[in-house]
Amino acid sequence: MAFKRNPKKKTGPNESTPLVTKRSLFYWAFSGNLKLQIILLFVIIFIVFTRVLPLEMQKRIVNEAIALRDVHSLILYCGIYLLAVTTTSLLKLIINYLQALIGERSMLAMRKDLYHHILNMPLGFFRNTQPGMVVSSLMTELSAAGTFAGQAFAVPVTNVLTLIAFAGYLISLHSNLAMATLLIYPIAVFVVPLLQKRANTANKRRVDLSRETSSQIAESISGIQEIQVHGAYQQENSKFDILVEKLKETRIRWSLFRFGIKTTNNYFVSLGPFIVFIYGGYLVMHGELALGSMVAFLSAQEKLYDPWKELIAFYQTYQDASIRYTRTMEYFDTPPEFPFEISVTTPQKLSNEIEVNDLFFQTSDGHALLKGVSFSLARGEHLAIVGFSGSGKSTLVQCIGKMYQYTGGSITIGGREVSSLSKTEIIENVGYISQNPFIFTGSIKENLLYAYQAMLPTASANQQSAENREEPDLDRMILVLQQAGLFVDVLRFGLDSFINPDDQKMIDTIIRIRMSFRENFGDRMRNYVEFFDQHSYHLNSSVSENIVFGTATNKKFGHHLLPENAQFRNFLRIEGLLRPLFDLGVELAEQAVDILGGIDTLDIFFEKSPVPADRLEECRHILNHLKKTPPSSLPPKEQTFLLSLALNFTPAIHTMTPLREDFKGTILSARDKFPQWCDKVAPGLFLFYDEKSYTHGQSILNNIFFGKIKSDLAHAQEKINQAIIHLLIEEDCMEQIASIGMHFQVGSTGDRLSGGQRQKLAIARVLIKQPGVIIMDEATSALDNKSQTRIQRLIETRWKKKRTVIAVIHRLDTISTFDKIAVMKTGKIVEWGTYSDLIDKKGILYELIYGRK
């Protein structure tokens, strides 16, 4: 038979399991699922029996019960028939469930193991691998393999056994007739694999093409900015078109062969009844076969078809799955360069002197990036590496950090060869800060502790949930944030957060800070902060905030819901505001359409628009409508929309429309009457701004101000920060605010942080693990002057003689404080010495700094 039946479990070499990519597809079906498979086997044997039973009953019903007119036997045989059919269905359900269970378990194991393997693969692999490709491999291609793993045992065993049982039964009925009908199957067995072979070729190509196509999609999406900037739609489209065209053709070929197999098979099988009729009919006519036997024969012949069909389908699934599986596994079949072993004990701290001797590094395609680099650093010495791009600076430090395996020479840290150190030991002793650090989705704190927690013994990191993992104390985290220059930012995140409404102590503190802020900084901050004042219009607040001048205690009365709130609209009508607000809404819509109509919906353009980008079209529609008919004829939904535009109007932001004096007056008088109205409707519905009480629903910072910030310009922010920090220290609650700020969510890949903030966070996350060796690969390139100086000072004053530093540096004005300078060119160190030596020498470094003379 062409398909594998009774697949044997492939066991790994002795104790250790083979590398995930080397395992056979059948490994997954059996490893860890052995018990389930045995249960399955018993169910299958049982089901084969219950499948054959009805056939025998059929024969007996016709031959014995009906022919002999024996009602008693008829009922008995029919009863057995019914029972057998019912049991078969039930068992079939159980088999399907077990199959699904095994399938899902195998897929889970496959995905987990392969994912763990991929994370450990050498960095070089990812240079030419698109994330999309990995995604589709793990999610799509492996799912076919998973489905197959569920069937791997059950389907062939069930169907082969059923087939044998039916065949045996047929032979027992009439051996010659049985032989004649069974003759068809060997022919099918010969033809089907021929077709399958061609289908496989097409399928292999399809898997490769799919992978290529997903890579292409992933690449264009990642590079979408370049594509749009350069208008390179044509190129990208044609690249994509060629691939999907090819994919289409291959898929058609593949489908053709697949359906070819099905049809061929169906054809052969449908010849069965033909033989039974012609040969069996002849036998019945000659009295060599009872009519009942022929009926049973016909049924059995029909039933043979089902297991056969399933076997063919299984054969196809197997071929498809194994192709997808092997193609996927082959792709990832690179062993990890530095396997990450699980350590239970804390690895030891190494002494931090570094020796590099005649170091060579060659890429897999033969480029020599390092050609014999040698140097040595004493404990706590600081080295700056400078040089032209492509001179091997980054490669050198990455070899020292064991991110790449060097191909010749040696590197020792504390006297131990780096290649013999385990990954865990490297992680414990070397901190690496890259030029473009990656920040993970989560809070500042989670990112800060990312490297620290990875360093903890694996057992404790896995078992405990994220919250109660061991973490350094708050003071230490704050110190590190300060050293990296991120502390003020974190403080700001904290100030922009909301307070826990039950924290009365904190609330009292904030109110005290508010008082002393007003007293000590009120005048000086008037340029930057607009304070709340019951008697004047607040330009940085919306119209509805200006009317309510407080926050709702009931969510139904939130500002965004007020436009559709009938009670609130009624209040506006009484105050004579409804009509002017509609007019304002129309004016805002007109302005927005005039200025921003026809513009791409770039967020930045709409930051100051009263109309969100996705509703501009609606505005245009309403304005057209208003040209012909009065506002009162607008549908209620659109009236509400206009009202919402007006209520959201904030003069300081939406500068396209003026705030008219008379309108301002009406709003202020409405503000005065609002509390009375509110008392009538529902007392306590709103908490009004009050200088003596905390406003929930406003950030901590706005609560300190009792107002809102006016300017987003850097110098204003800085002055505000200085004032606030001063007050926080006075009230001794800076740590608390910082700890709130550390829970700030940085967004996906840290996109809510600026480039500088991301880099500072990356520096902080290395600082907190206190490694003896710190490698900085242009680690301060995204920082502004001040922050860079701060880091520089940190390196100089806190790390000298303690931590060994190797820094790749692009800004030459910062290297004078390093103990040693290495100038690199084409994979070699061409100058080595102290800063003053090299400057006196007037060699390459001198040239780099002062230009060619």
Binding site: V229, P658, L659, E661, H715
Partner: protein, 171 residues
């Protein structure tokens, strides 16, 4: 002093910004819709005497139009004392090159009096360039003209000792 109180009469703030931008040679040739959006995006800022707008080594990434007040460009002279290189007054526009691309500042910019400015960031300007590609050649032409003008002025004013420092337009 508040910049917003001026916005309380009938002319919208943005309209005023638009008039100011139209009056600047750098912006005046821009398409009207681009100018309108620029007028919408620009912000007003107030500085107190001694406020630092940017310092040497920073990327200034902003252009400023002085509405009233005085800004001074200073450099570190001997003994690290600041030496004033130039002063900018009401109506002066500075930083157009900063809008076009990133470069570390070679000077400090500080406010000498209470100063009020209209300011635009490179981030905002680059979005305008993206939306209105025709703006780029216009702004480059304006920048070149500015540099040319600057050197022409120096040729006629600089003493002969400093001639060796000239020639930027030939680079």
């Amino acid at each position: 002093m508040s910049s917003f109180t001026e916005g309380n009469d009938q002319v919208p703030q943005m309209q005023k910004n638009l008039e100011l931008l139209k009056g600047l040679p750098f912006f005046s040739p821009f398409p009207v819709q681009a100018l309108k959006i620029l007028a919408l995006l620009t912000t007003r800022g107030d500085f107190l005497p001694g406020d630092l707008l940017y310092e040497e080594g920073d990327d200034p990434h902003r252009a400023y139009l002085i509405l009233h007040g005085r800004l001074a460009l200073t450099a570190k002279g001997d003994d690290n004392k600041p030496v004033t290189i130039q002063q900018f007054r009401d109506g002066d526009f500075l930083g157009s090159l900063s809008l076009l691309g990133s470069m570390p500042a070679l000077f400090n910019l500080t406010s000498e009096t209470e100063t009020s400015v209209l300011t635009l960031s490179r981030k905002q300007f680059s979005k305008i360039l993206k939306q209105f590609p025709e703006v780029l050649p216009i702004s480059l032409a304006a920048a070149l003209k500015e540099i040319n003008h600057w050197e022409r002025k120096n040729i006629s004013e600089a003493a002969s000792c400093c001639f060796s420092r000239l020639g930027i337009t030939a680079l």
